[in-house]
Amino acid sequence: MGAIGDAFTWLATGANWQGESGVWNRLAEHLYFSGVCLLLSCLIALPVALWLGHLGRGGALAVNLSNVGRAIPTLAVLILLTLTPLGKQGDLPTVIALVLFAVPPLLTNAYIGMREVDRAVVEAARGMGMSGRQVFVRVELPLAYPLVMTGLRSAAVQVVATATLAAMAGEGGLGRIITAGFNTYNTPQVVAGALLVAALALLVEGVLVAADRLLDPRRRGAARRATA
């Protein structure tokens, strides 16, 4: 427990929060990177997944993407990108890696969400005279919502984790507090950085679970969301 106490002492020291390598700046970098990349990933993945789901095509691709993503080590991709000419373009390698690993959960979940919509409901909507667009907006999208949100949560947690690893490839973010602690054999700083990262990841997950509950178009998703 001594290590945890030392870590809290580190966190309680005001000087550790100030300056370029202070907590506030690293947190801001982390949130900025994560936010931009998550938004970018949604803009890429969701339209493609929802459209493919609506058409009912490209299922193998959407599902296998997640399986392939699991086998690729994030750290290796970050470091490989850093060593390419892209590495000279500042933060570009990190942004690419973050987007690369956030797209599969978004794409797979949104696609499966669309495909799992009861065909009978879609047929009924068609029979009522709804156009393809109306079926998509009023029927498929609300019914696919729980899985789209599951994908968003997975992607958000993934992005926060990948942004942490970016520190091992020399980028900023909260992970930098951990790697700097390792470089200076400062265990309290390592543990303090780890606590901050873990708290941020859990907070992001918690906020998205709450948002999910508030925004669910059917407002009774509790049972369906039991698994995530």
Binding site: S66, R70, T74, A76, I79, Q158, M168, G181, V191, G193
Partner: protein
Amino acid sequence: MSGRSCLTANDWICGEYVRSRGQELADATVQHVWITVVSVVIGLLIAFPLALLARGRDGRRSRFAGPVLGLTTVLYTVPSLAMFSLLLPVFGLSAAVVVTGLVLYSLTVLVRNILAGLEAVPAEAREAALGMGYGRGRLLWEVELPLALPALLAGVRIATVSTVALTTVGAIVGYGGLGTLIVDGLDSLFRAQVLTASVICVLLAVVADLLLLGLQRALTPWTRAPGRRTPRIRTGRPSVRTTRIAKAG
């Protein structure tokens, strides 16, 4: 001379690198494999009793199911770099840090899949076995476990593939297998080392997945016997959902 020039030119692909550092690559691969295997095996040994605890004696979910599933999900949310760093004061700079972290991650997928597999065992099969005088232990080993095997092995495959990828992060404490070579390669800007180690790492994941697929087929031949009425096991929604989680980073 051409071999030496690909090292001095810092090419991405360099046969001379593989020849001259073959031993280093082999050692890193061996470390990578044993860290992965030990983690998944320990994960399985812990996940199985946890799944039994979550299921309860009557075959339905017990009051422990919520806490067990919730705790493993929370652990899964913690980024790997933070997980290893939090374990550092407990174990020091050792392989135990990496193995413990990977075990904790593997629990999420394994517990969910084993639980889903056990829950998918038809009630008739359980009752028939009990009616024939099977005890609890025999029911578990001879009826429930074989029927839950496809879901269990599906979980082992997912856990193994993610563990191979996550082991690289162990480089932070010096026990990352191929990850250690990748991170060292960044420090020395050694492209051939980074690319070669990364490719071997992905190949390891693919080979492990195929080996486990073979094992799955060998152990559960009934799941692919065509045209015969077979005890089909649904993996159940929870496990199907679980398979969509990709843990990386």
